[in-house]
C-alpha cells in the first residue's frame, strides 16, 4: 500500500512522486487533496494536493516542497518504499463547468494543485489562460504540462530568468482590463499571492477562486483546526473547501493561523536536520 513508484526532483526543494493508491486514483476529482504521514506513530498528518492521477495504473501524483519535518522525510524516501498512512481523496471537488474564459494563476508549488483544475476546466470547453510565477526559472514546475493544455501561457519570474520579470498580478490585471475580461480566475499559491490576486480582480468583479492549504489533522471536519473566516462566517477548509471565493476570505487571519506553530516547527526541523547531519558523520 502507498508504495512510491516513481520519484523526481523538480528543483532544489521540490519533489514529484507517483504513488500507488488505486482507490484514491479512481475516486479523486480536480481540487481534492490527500493527508499523509511518514510515520503513523509519532508522525504528523499533513495535507497535500493530488497533482494528477492515473486510474488505470492506480497511481496518484504528489508534488511537494521539502520545507517541514514531514516533507523533508518524504523527500528522502526512495522508490519502492511505502508511505505509512495516506488517506483521501478529501475536500469538495472544484465546481467545473463551461464559464467561457478562465485564467488560472499558479505561484511556486501552487502550480501543482492548479494543474488538475486547469485540466478539468479545459476539458469542459473553457478558453484557458495560465499565468505561472516563481522566484526564478529553476523553480518553475509543470511548465510543459501547462503549455500542453493552455490556450495561452504567461510565465513570470521575480528575477526575469524566465518569461516576464515581475509578479503574476501584473498580467492578471492586464487580462482584467481587456474588453472581454475573464469569466473566472483561479489563483493557487502562497497565501500572500492569493490575497493579492484577489485584490487585483476585485475592482473588475472577476469571480476568483482560491485554494487554501491550512493546518489540518483529520481532514474530515472533526477537529476544526483548518477553520478560516469567509465572508464573516467560519468555514472548515477540509470539508467546506479547500476552494473559496477569494474576495471573501480573511487572508490576514488565515496567515496568522498558519503561523500558529512556527516556533515549534522550526525547532523540530532543526532537531531533524541535526540528527541527519549527525547520522551522516
Amino acid at each position: 500500500m502507498n508504495r512510491i513508484i516513481e520519484k523526481r526532483k523538480l528543483s532544489e526543494t521540490v519533489f514529484w512522486m507517483r504513488v500507488d493508491a488505486p482507490l484514491i486514483a479512481q475516486e479523486r476529482k480536480a481540487g481534492q487533496f490527500i493527508i499523509l504521514q511518514v510515520d503513523d506513530y509519532f508522525g504528523e498528518r499533513i495535507p497535500l494536493t493530488i497533482a494528477d492521477a492515473d486510474s488505470t495504473n492506480g497511481t496518484i501524483t504528489l508534488i511537494f516542497q521539502a520545507v517541514g519535518a514531514t516533507t523533508i522525510r518524504l523527500s528522502e524516501m526512495d522508490v519502492g518504499e511505502e508511505i505509512a498512512a495516506l488517506v483521501g481523496p478529501l475536500g469538495t471537488p472544484t465546481h467545473i463547468e463551461k464559464f467561457g474564459t478562465v485564467v488560472c494563476v499558479g505561484g511556486g508549488i501552487g502550480v501543482a494543485p492548479l494543474y488538475p483544475i486547469a485540466q478539468a476546466l479545459k476539458a469542459a470547453g473553457n478558453k484557458l489562460i495560465v499565468i505561472m510565477g516563481a522566484r526564478n526559472a529553476e523553480l518553475l514546475i509543470l511548465e510543459e504540462e501547462m503549455r500542453a493544455i493552455a490556450d495561452e501561457l504567461i510565465i513570470c519570474t521575480d528575477d526575469g530568468s524566465a518569461g516576464r520579470k515581475g509578479l503574476v498580478t501584473a498580467p492578471l490585471k492586464e487580462l482584467c482590463e481587456l474588453s472581454e475580461k475573464p469569466d473566472l480566475a483561479v489563483a493557487i499559491g502562497p497565501p500572500i499571492m492569493m490575497k493579492f490576486c484577489a485584490e487585483t480582480t476585485r475592482p473588475y468583479d472577476v469571480h476568483t477562486l482560491v485554494s487554501l492549504n491550512t493546518i489540518m489533522i483529520d481532514g474530515t471536519g472533526m477537529c476544526g483546526g483548518c477553520r478560516v473566516t469567509v465572508g464573516g462566517e467560519t468555514k472548515f477548509v477540509c470539508v467546506d473547501g479547500p476552494e473559496f471565493d477569494g474576495h471573501l476570505v480573511d487572508f490576514e487571519n488565515m496567515m496568522n493561523r498558519l503561523n500558529s506553530y512556527k516556533k515549534q516547527e522550526q525547532d523540530h526541523v532543526c532537531r531533524l536536520t541535526n540528527k541527519i547531519e549527525e547520522g551522516a558523520k
Partner: protein
Amino acid sequence: MSYRPPQELADEAIELVSKIEKPLSPRDRLAIPVQEMPTQDPAVRRTNMDEVALGYTLEEARLEAERCLQCKTAPCVAGCPVGIDIPGFIKAIAEEDNKRAIDIIKQSSLLPAVCGRVCPQETQCQAPCTVGKSLKSVDKAVSIGRLERYVADWERDVHGMQPLSTKPDTGKKVGIIGTGPAGLTVAVDVRREGHQVVLFEAFHKPGGVMVYGIPEFRLPKAIVQKEIDALVEMGCELRANYVVGRTRKIPDLLKEDGFDALFIASGAGLPRFMNLEGENLVGVYSANEYLTRSNLMRAYDRARSATPISESKKVAVFGGGNVAMDAARTAVRLGASEVHLIYRRTEVEMPARVEEVAHAKEEGVIFHLLQNPKRILGDAQQHVTHIECLRYELGEPDDSGRRRPIEIKGSEFEMEVDTVIVAIGNNSNPLIRQTTPGLETNQWGNIVVDENGKTSIDRIYAGGDIVLGAATVILAMGEGRKAAAAINTMLAQ
C-alpha cells in the same frame, strides 16, 4: 475528601476482609465502608499521562462486592443500558470466582474494561442502587463500575482474554463504518454469526473517540488496542485511512464491492463553536482538536511527536461536560500554570461525571461557575491574550429541566489567557449524509433509524453518536447490539 495513598487503602481492606464473618446480614453489608478507588497522587499525576485510577486490589474488590444486598428486584439492572446481570457478577466476585463474573458481564457487554472506566454509573446502574438509597447518598451505592473494571482487568492481565468463537462462514459480508464503541460492538456480534466483517476507519489508528478523544490518563490506549486485537483474531478485517463518503461512497460499497449490509457508526465528529468574536484567533482550539493532537497524535510527548500543541501558560476551557474535563486535565499535564474551566450554570447542572469533576479539582483546575465567555481578544499577531466573560444567575427551569442561566447585565470582566479550548459539544459529521442519496436524517443531521437500528435505506443500519447525538460509550454499545441482532436476522433470511 483528602487524598489517601493506595497502600493505605489496600492495608485497610486486608484488615477488614479478615474480620468478615459469614453469613453477612444486610445490616453487616451496609456497614462495610465504600471502597475508595486507589488513584495516583494528584501532585504526581499532574505531570504524567498515566492512568489516574489504579483499580481495586483483590481485597478491595471482595469488600465492595460484599456490600451488594443481592436485591431480588435488581434496580441496578434496569439502570444499565445493556442490562448486565449486575447482582450475578458481583456475587461471583464475592465468591472469588472472577471467571464466572466476567462471563456473566460478557453475555451483555462487550467492552467491560472500557465501560468500567468511562460509564457514568452514578446516573445509570448506581443511581437506583438500594445500598445507596439506604445510606442516603448515591456516592455510597455499590461501586458497580469499579467492580466491572476489576474483573475485566483481571481477565486481560491475569487470566488472558479468550478469543470468541465464530460460526462457520456464511459467505455474507458486512461493512462497518467507524471503529468506536458502536462499530466494535457490531463487529463482534456479526462476526460471531460467521459473517465476514470489514471495519473502515478514517484515521490511521482504530478506536474512534476512545483513542482520539478520551485521554490516556482516563482510558489507556493499550486497553482499546486489546479489544481491536481480539477482533482481528476473530477474523475481522480492518481498513484504516479509509473515509467512507470520500474514499468510497456507500452506494458503491453495496452495489459494487459486494457488501450485504452496512452499519454506520461514524460518530458525532463536527465540533460546535460559539460564534464568539475572536473565535478564530491563534490559540483557540476545539476540544476535538486539542485532544486529538495530544492523544492520537501524541503531542504530549513533545520530544518525539511531530505534531505540535500550544505551549500554554494560562488556559480557558469553555464547557462543563466530560470532554471539557478531559481538555482541562490535559492542559494541566501539558504544563499550563493555570487552567480555568468556565461554565455558565452551576456544578449541579454540569453534565460531566462527578468523578471527573473531582479529579479535575484535585489536579488544580480552577472552576468558574455561572460565567460565560462573551468574546476572545488578541494581539496584533492575532494571538489570544484575554477573554471577556459575563456573570450569570439561575432562572426558571428550561426544556432540559435544568434552571436556565440568565446573564447579569454589566457584569463583564476580563481574564488573561493565552489558550482557549471550546468544549461545548459536537454536531453530527455531514460527510456520509451528503454522499448517500436517500439516507434520512433529522434536523440535527443525525441519521434516523427504526427500533432495530435500520435506516431509511434497506441493508443499511446505523448507531452510536451519529444516531444519538453526542452520548456515551455504553449507549453506543447498546444501540450497536440491537442493530447487530437485526443485521444477523436479516442475513439469515
